[in-house]
Amino acid sequence: MNKDKQLLPTYERPQYWRSLEELRGPGLVTERDSAAALADAAGLDRRELVKYLGVSFAMAGLTACTRQPTEKIVPYVRQPEEIIPGKPLFFATAMSLSGYATGLLVESHMGRPTKAEGNPLHPASLGATDAFSQAALYDLYDPDRSQSITFLDEIRAWPAFLSAIRVALEKARTKKGDGLHILTETVGSPTLGAQLLALLRDLPGARWHQWEPNNRDRVWAGAAAAFGQPVETILRVDRADVILSLDADFLACGPGHLRSVREFSARRRPRDRQKFNRLYAVESTPSVTGACADHRLPLRAWDVEAFARSVAGLVGAGSAAQAPSDFAKAVAEDLKSHRGKSLVIAGDDQPAPVQALAHAINAALGNVGQTLITTDPVPVRTESQIDSLRQLVGDMDKGLVDTLIILGGNPTFTAPADVPFAHALEKVGLRIHLGTHQDETSAHCHWHVPEAHFLESWSDARAFDGTASIVQPLIAPLYRGKTPHEILAALSDQPERTSHEIVRDYWRDKLSGDFESAWRQALHDGVIAGTAFSPKALAVWKSAPPSNASAATPETAAGSLEIRFRPDPTIYDGRFANNGWLQELPKPISKLTWDNAVMLAPQTAKRLALTNEDVVKLEYRGRSIEAPVWIQPGHVEDAATLHFGYGRTRAGQLGTRIGSNANALRTADAPAGDRGLQITKTGRTYSLATTQQHDVMEGRALVRSATLEEFERQPKFAHEIVEEPESDLTMYSSFPRQEYAWAMAIDLNACTGCNACVVACQAENNIPFVGKDQVSRGRAMHWLRVDRYYSGSPDNPTTHHQPLPCMQCENAPCELVCPVGATVHSAEGLNDMVYNRCVGTRYCGNNCPYKVRHFNFYHYSTKFRAPSMRMLANPDVTVRWRGVMEKCTYCVQRINEAKITAEKQDRRVRDGEIVTACQQACPAEAIVFGDLADSESRVVRRKASPTNYSLLGELGTRPRTTYLAEVGNPNPALAAAESKRS
């Protein structure tokens, strides 16, 4: 105790000193002295030592109250250029899907890619993205990606693979390549194409096959029929006054669809009457394009040819058909009065004669060269993929294939039911699969090589118009994945060559000027200037091809339906089956998640006594599968649609064994389906998860719409429907306006309902996906959802889309009721959510009239726990805990970043400097965000539109997000007939 007392004052009381001498005390302090002091301290007796030890131990224990992550701090040995911690960098690259590229700018935080944006310089993007490219990052970090080279499921090293391939190659070389087959997906990469062609030159006996289920065989065949050679047809939607879509979903998929959307919606501004276009859609399955159409005619895919023929006859591109329908007559009249300014588009799924008919009509109307440009095809080869696959399977079956190298794709799953790919594959001596996942195909292969994701690899790709982009990696391959370039290099005995060298070497003599600077410019811009294909003037064959199939094929058995196979709107051909974001993304029209279903018209379902979720047996051409029923308003009668891509058996933790495999019914001769489907009820049911259970507006003025005539008569039609209280009609003083007042305006007339914004929001804001069970319990987390309403008859309803982010009400009902002040109003008008303060009463969610608040019922963010998934999270946005409410913030992290930048430069934030994630993704430019305090801002100009209205404004919430009402442009001739019908 005595010693304690002596020690204590020394430690507790600060010592004051006036000079160094005084500090040192009498005499100089030497090392020896301090050593002596230490010795004194060490001279504590045993009891005291233990006492101190005990106290230190207990105090150390206190620090364990918060769990600190283990973080190794390793300084840079060499500081990388341009990396400032906390500041993201953007790199241009491109994503290819079925051979066509979309240019991207990918955000990189400290070397890890976190978000994809569109590249404004890229012709297929113009700054916008679709849902697939937004979700590409999820695929990169997918924990189920294959991570090592395997031989018969055993891990092997790259050299082992090389020696295996060398043996096979030697053998092939002795036979001049006979027996060596390479199967790829559609190849749009010029470098890869050149590599393949070089290999074929080297080994003339080797074969290159292409196959992917959503191929463009019919497009090339149709173009060949019309133009004499397969050509790319580029749509110039911006030049078209009248558009007829023949079962074409050109606003949602296909080459250049983002650009088409931009051009389409730019011509639907009601104040610009002269430029306002008109869209007719003829389709069997309700699509995004059909939902945008001014007139939509449900027609079985089979009957589209007859319709096209009658239109062709009426516009003078063939013999006049007997008794064309009123619709065809009206369309033809409209097309004829817009010669050179109209456009007829045939869907990729339509058979070659329809493609040719569309070209013939366009030619007859003088549209070719105006609204329709022909160029060289973008894919390196345009041979019929189904023939190519058939040939491969035939060779395999005959035992002619010694080595098969599958570069990407999943043919075992995607091959048509009557092409026994998996069976024939077993007869191949050496089977090599390059793929991002251990999938159905790798299960049948000897070797599996993990494929590098496009964000990990060097490559190149062409946009729909031929513009080439260099695909540059954002990150080194996470699992030492290989690119197809590297595999092909290995086949050419150059295994040491990297993709980077290969791609550079290809472009070395093709870039103009100094190569290094041109290369750097190409990487920077994301496009290689001047690589777009030049238009090809071709002799156009103006008359319709003779009718063939329709007359020849006998009518099928009575009571049979037509079946239609289409790629899934969110997981495409199944390649995104393990992508949680895309699985949970509601399908644009049906709002289904996590499943596909056989879609039937309401009348057909009624006739067959089926309701939603009934499991039915689909029998078609001697094969059968089971699938649940989804009644889809607007679907054509006596037909069914089943999206392919589901039913994967080896996709990963998320995508395996969900949905029904449409590939088990698809046949090679009619890949888009045909008549002859029999549906029988099994009596069982299967629950489907949808994010929207109620489809009609119940007479409420939610989406307000009018025709162009009505708009001209009464521009303020959107305000006549509901009386909105004056903004000063309140007892409280209004909120003081600060320097900025953030607001958003959403143009419902532009929105196509494509859902790209939903995934963009999810990627930007670390929104977890919750799984099918939670979706069906109504717990989907999307901060931004796209509501879909039908109006009119369920047989052919008008479809309305309404994106719904937080309304950021100035008079917010949610703020009032939070007991702990976890949701508060910011000075700039944002309705802020303080996650740390939230205790989770959910009162705010209840009291939100728009129901845009989302609650973490479980700890959903554990989805980010996998090591690779942690890299996916945007570091600028909090990852939320369970029990916490969350909602749209107008991307407050982007607002703050721009404000900091502006403050540093001592200026206001400029209009357009802040772009929310949804706005950035939107191809239609439907969403505009900005500052209300800036009278010149785009959002102020947009809100000045007479069609601008507040959703549920009559409640006095004064939302900052407002909508521009829909304005349609129906053909007066048809509108009269339709109103009579309804």
């Binding site: 929207q692 259970q693 109620h694 489809d695 009609v696 507006m697 119940e698 007479g699 409420r700 939610l702 939670q774 319990r777 109504g778 717990r779 989907a780 959802r785 509501d787 879909r788 309403y789 309404q802 719904l804 009902p813 009032l816 009721v817 939070c818 007991p819 702990v820 002040g821 303060r837 939230c838 205790v839 989770g840 009463t841 959910r842 009162y843 969610g845 209840n846 009291n847 009239p849 728009y850 129901k851 989302h854 609650f855 973490n856 019922f857 479980y858 700890h859 805990w881 369970r882 029990g883 916490v884 409410m885 959703l951 549920l952 409640l955």
Partner: protein
């Protein structure tokens, strides 16, 4: 007329009782009679259900609120339904004790003790729910205004904060009221107990009560004051609870009629629960002498009166949704009647409006079994009322795109049934260890008490 005849012919205590017999009869249940078998069975069931509830709560805390059926449009489900239901039940006790005391309704004497206990236990159940239903229940104390380093207070505009105060005040005053009323009886038990432990425990609880004139004087004063404080609370608590809904913007919630009709509904439900408990209790413990037909009839009349008020409330609510002209209000009412939850609405109408009409008949008012069945039905009806208000308002509000359905999960049910079990278990403990009828107040009803008019006068001062 009939009232007077009833009260004339049926006394509040059967003739023949003396001070001693009253004390004996009530205290023997606690002190000397064997614990009856039904007690063991009843308590056992209650306790088992309580354990089930604890399990459900354990799962809830471990996994999150997702184990319940709540979802995006319906953010409040069983938890809030049950909260309001239990709070409502907790109204009768204080009403009987405080308001009827102030109104000098001496028939309240034999039922006030267990009605108060019922109140207390019901409020305890109710108090569980607001904490359980939080997304992060461990932060529930953030709703309290306490000085903290974050310098943060609750958000005073939120009715949930008002709720915290209303319910905690009510629970505190109810507890005090009940305990103060118990003190003289605890002293009686202390004096009559044979076992040492019982003597010590009751002795401590009796807080040194000796029954001196000074004690009685202070006691009467305190009790009267507490009654005065408790009386406005009877009205305020459920008014504030109703604010949880009226302050909201949701059609079906945003309504000025809620405060009065919630209070009436609470009294209605509370009396139904008192009857539900009193009728079996009096026959099991042979207390027909103390809880007489007169009590049952009086309570039946209160049930009828409040039932009519509640029915009027429903009618006005329906009328106003039409009269408002608001399409959302109109749809809400129509949806309640014909939407997917129509059985709840029509069940509610049947239970709460049709059933009490039987109470117009004296024969039914005088039949303990009939009354008991009606009381049970009213209990169910009051639960349905809260279900209809909470769930059917939320599940279809303004935007049809966000409409959804609410289905309770097994954990919802386990928690709900568990609180009933917990309530039953607490009640069985109460009747086993404390006098369920006020001994000293019953003694004032015995003819002996009237022999000394001077005493009676003094008491009334």
């Amino acid at each position: 007329m009939s009232d007077r005849r009833e009260s004339r012919y049926v006394p509040v205590i059967q003739p023949g009782h003396t001070f001693a017999s009253v004390t004996d009869k009530i205290s023997s249940i606690v002190l000397s009679r064997r614990t009856p078998r039904f007690w063991v069975v009843g308590f056992g069931i209650g306790f088992a259900l309580t354990l089930g509830m604890l399990y459900a709560i354990g799962v809830l805390f471990f996994r999150g609120i997702g184990v319940w059926g709540v979802n995006q449009p319906v953010g409040w489900g069983f938890a809030i339904v049950n909260f309001v239901w239990w709070i409502g039940i907790g109204h009768a006790g204080t009403l009987i004790s405080a308001i009827l005391l102030l109104l000098r309704q001496e028939w309240r004497t034999s039922i006030n003790r267990f009605a108060e206990a019922m109140t207390l236990f019901a409020v305890a159940q109710a108090g569980l729910y607001p904490i359980l239903h939080l997304g992060r229940p461990w932060l529930a104390y953030w709703l309290l205004p306490y000085p903290n380093t974050m310098a943060l207070w609750p958000q005073w505009r939120s009715p949930l904060v008002w709720d915290v105060f209303a319910v905690s005040t009510y629970a505190t005053v109810s507890l005090l009221f009940w305990y103060v009323g118990l003190i003289p009886d605890l002293a009686t038990l202390r004096d009559r107990a044979r076992k040492k432990t019982a003597q010590i425990i009751y002795g401590m609880l009796a807080m040194g009560w000796r029954g001196s004139a000074m004690h009685w004087h202070r006691y009467e004063m305190a009790y009267l004051l507490l009654a005065g404080i408790a009386t406005p609370l009877v009205v305020s608590v459920h008014t504030v609870v109703s604010f949880d809904f009226t302050i909201g913007i949701i059609p079906g919630w945003h309504s000025t009629i809620f405060p009065p009709y919630f209070v009436a509904g609470a009294i209605y439900g509370g009396f139904a629960m008192v009857l539900t408990i009193a009728i079996p209790l009096r026959s099991l413990y042979h207390l027909e002498d103390f809880v007489t037909l007169r009590h049952l009839r009086n309570m039946a009349k209160i049930l009828l009166a409040t039932g009519l008020i509640v029915g009027y409330g429903y009618m006005i609510e329906i009328f106003m949704s039409w009269y408002s002209g608001s399409p959302y209000e109109k749809y809400m009412t129509w949806n309640r009647m014909t939407g997917p939850y129509w059985p709840a609405f029509w069940g509610l109408m049947l239970c709460n409006i049709v059933t009490p009409q039987f109470l117009w008949f004296r024969a039914i008012r005088s039949s303990p079994l009939g009354l008991w069945i009606i009381a049970l039905i009213v209990n169910v009806g009051m639960w349905l009322e809260r279900f209809v208000i909470v769930v059917t308002s939320l599940h279809r509000d303004f935007l049809p795109s966000s409409w959804g359905m609410y289905f309770p999960t097994k954990f919802d049910w386990m928690t709900y049934v568990g609180t009933i079990g917990f309530f039953v278990a607490l009640f069985f403990l109460f009747i086993r260890f404390l006098p369920m009828i006020s001994i000293f107040e019953m003694r004032t009803l015995v003819p002996e008490a009237e022999l000394a008019p001077a005493d009676a006068e003094r008491k009334e001062q």
